[in-house]
Amino acid sequence: MRIFNPTFGLSATSAEKVSLKPVNWQTDAIALMSNSKPNARELLEGIRGKLSAHRQVENIKFMAKNSASQPAPKELIQDIAKNYRAAILALGD
C-alpha cells in the first residue's frame, strides 16, 4: 500500500546564510523586546538591572510589540536591526 504523506511540502525558507559579527555584550547596543504580555517588562527590567552591574546600560533600551497577539510590525524589526547589535526577547504570560 502506498500513501501520500500528509506533512509533505516545499520549504519556503531561503537556505541563504547571513554572516553575523560577534556581539560585544560589554558595550554593544541591546534591544530588550517584550511580547507585550504581563510580566515581560518585569523580566526585562530584571535583566537590565543585572547587566548594570557589569556594563553601562544607557544603550540598552526597552522595546515592545503593539499587540501581544500579532507579529511585530516590520518597521519595528527593521528599527531594531538597524540600531542594535543584539535583541533579548521576553515571552511573558
Binding site: 502506498r2 504523506n5 509533505f8 511540502g9 497577539s69 500579532q70
Partner: protein, 345 residues
C-alpha cells in the same frame, strides 16, 4: 536515509487499517481519533475535484511549508471527507492563510481558539451541510469532516502540534471540528456572504479564529428589544478575548429569535448598533490590574464602560440553527479577521 517527512509518497507494504493508524499516531499525524488511509487512489480522486484551481498556496505558518495539493488531499482523506468536500476544505485553508487571519498567532497562542468554518451559498445543500437543528453539533458527515480536515492540515502542514507549537492552555472541543452552514432559508435579512459582497449564487467559506459557541438562551423575551438585552449581556464577558477590544466576533441568531427581531423592525445595522451599546462591560466587573493593562495598551474605557470590539462593525451577524429559543455568541481570538473565500467550482 531519507526521513519520512521528506517523502511525498510512502510505501507501507501490506499494512492494514489498524496498523496504519498506529503508524500515523507514531508520526504525530492524528488528532486522536481514527484516520482513513490516504492511498494514492483516494488522494487522486480528491485532487481531481480541484483541477482548474491553479492558484498557488502561500507558505503555511508556522512551519512555512508550501503544501502540495496531494498532501492537502491526504489530510482530507484521513479526516473522512468525501471527495466532493475537498474544494470547501481548500477554500477554508485559503481563508486561514489570509495574512490578517494571523495563522501563526492563532495556532501558537495559549488561547483556546479554533478555526470556525461557515459555509454559505448553494453548495450547502449539494453537500448536505447542516444549517439547521444541531448545526454546531454531531450527526452530519460534511460538517464533521470538513472542519476536521482543516484541523488536520493545521496539525500536519502548519505544524501545530499540541504541547509543542500549539500552546493552548486548555484547548477547545472545537479544535476537533467546527463547521456549520448558514440557514439562509430562514434568514430574514441578507445572507452573510452577500453582506460581504458575494452574489447569492456564489458558494463561500468564511473562517474566523474563534472560541466555541457561547449559548444565548432567551425563552422569555417576546420582543426584539428584550432579546437584544439578553444577547448584549451574554456578550459582555470580561473573560473573553473580545474584552481587549481588538477583534471581530460572530452572533449566530437562531431562526425564531431572528423572526422576532425582524418583526420588530430591527435590521442588521440596528442590531449591530444595539449590541455594541448593550454589550459594554461595566468597570466594576473588571479587576484593577486588567483595567490598568487595557488602558496602557490603548483600550480606554468610555466613562464607566468598556466596549467589546473596536466598533459595531466588529459584530458579524448570521442566522443558523433550527426551532428553539437559542442563539450563539462566538468571540474571536482578537488579533484576527473574518476571511471569506469563494469556493472554486
Amino acid at each position: 536515509m531519507t526521513d519520512i517527512a521528506d517523502k511525498e509518497v510512502i510505501d507501507l507494504d501490506d499494512m492494514d487499517v489498524e496498523a496504519f493508524n498506529e503508524f500515523a499516531t507514531e508520526q504525530g499525524w492524528s488528532d486522536g481519533m481514527p484516520l482513513f488511509v490516504p492511498t494514492e487512489a483516494k488522494v487522486a480522486k480528491f485532487v481531481e475535484t480541484v483541477r482548474g484551481d491553479n492558484r498557488p498556496y502561500a507558505p503555511v505558518p508556522p512551519r512555512q511549508i508550501i503544501p502540495t495539493v496531494q498532501a492537502l488531499a491526504a489530510n482530507a482523506v484521513m479526516a473522512g471527507c468525501k471527495a466532493e468536500y475537498f474544494p470547501v476544505v481548500t477554500a477554508a485553508l485559503r481563508g486561514v492563510l489570509d495574512p490578517e487571519y494571523n495563522l501563526h498567532g492563532t495556532l501558537a497562542t495559549t488561547h483556546s481558539c479554533a478555526p470556525m468554518v461557515m459555509v454559505s451559498g448553494p453548495i450547502r445543500k449539494e453537500l448536505n451541510i447542516n444549517c439547521g437543528t444541531n448545526c454546531f453539533g454531531q450527526g452530519w458527515q460534511a460538517n464533521a469532516t470538513i472542519g476536521r480536515a482543516l484541523g488536520l492540515m493545521l496539525l500536519n502542514v502548519a505544524g501545530a502540534k499540541p504541547g509543542e507549537m500549539d500552546r493552548s492552555t486548555q484547548g477547545n472541543p472545537a479544535k476537533f471540528t467546527f463547521c456549520f452552514g448558514e440557514n439562509e432559508e430562514e434568514n430574514p435579512w441578507t445572507p452573510y456572504h452577500v453582506q460581504r459582497g458575494f452574489a447569492p449564487t456564489d458558494s463561500v467559506v468564511t473562517v474566523m479564529s474563534g472560541e466555541g459557541p457561547h449559548n444565548l438562551n432567551d425563552h422569555g423575551s417576546t420582543t426584539g428589544d428584550g432579546l437584544l438585552t439578553t444577547f448584549g449581556a451574554g456578550m459582555a464577558n470580561p473573560g473573553a478575548n473580545t474584552v481587549y477590544g481588538k477583534g471581530p466576533m460572530f452572533v449566530v441568531i437562531g431562526p425564531e429569535h431572528a423572526a422576532t427581531l425582524k418583526r420588530d423592525g430591527f435590521t442588521l445595522d440596528s442590531i449591530r448598533q444595539e449590541l455594541w451599546r448593550r454589550s459594554r462591560i461595566h468597570l466594576s466587573r473588571l479587576s484593577k490590574e486588567n483595567l490598568k493593562t487595557y488602558e496602557t495598551t490603548g483600550h480606554k474605557p468610555d466613562g464607566d464602560w468598556l466596549t467589546i470590539g473596536r466598533s459595531p462593525d466588529d459584530i458579524h451577524i448570521t442566522v443558523a440553527g433550527g426551532p428553539g429559543k437559542h442563539s450563539a455568541f462566538i468571540p474571536s481570538f482578537g488579533g484576527t479577521t473574518v476571511s471569506c473565500t469563494r469556493i472554486a467550482r
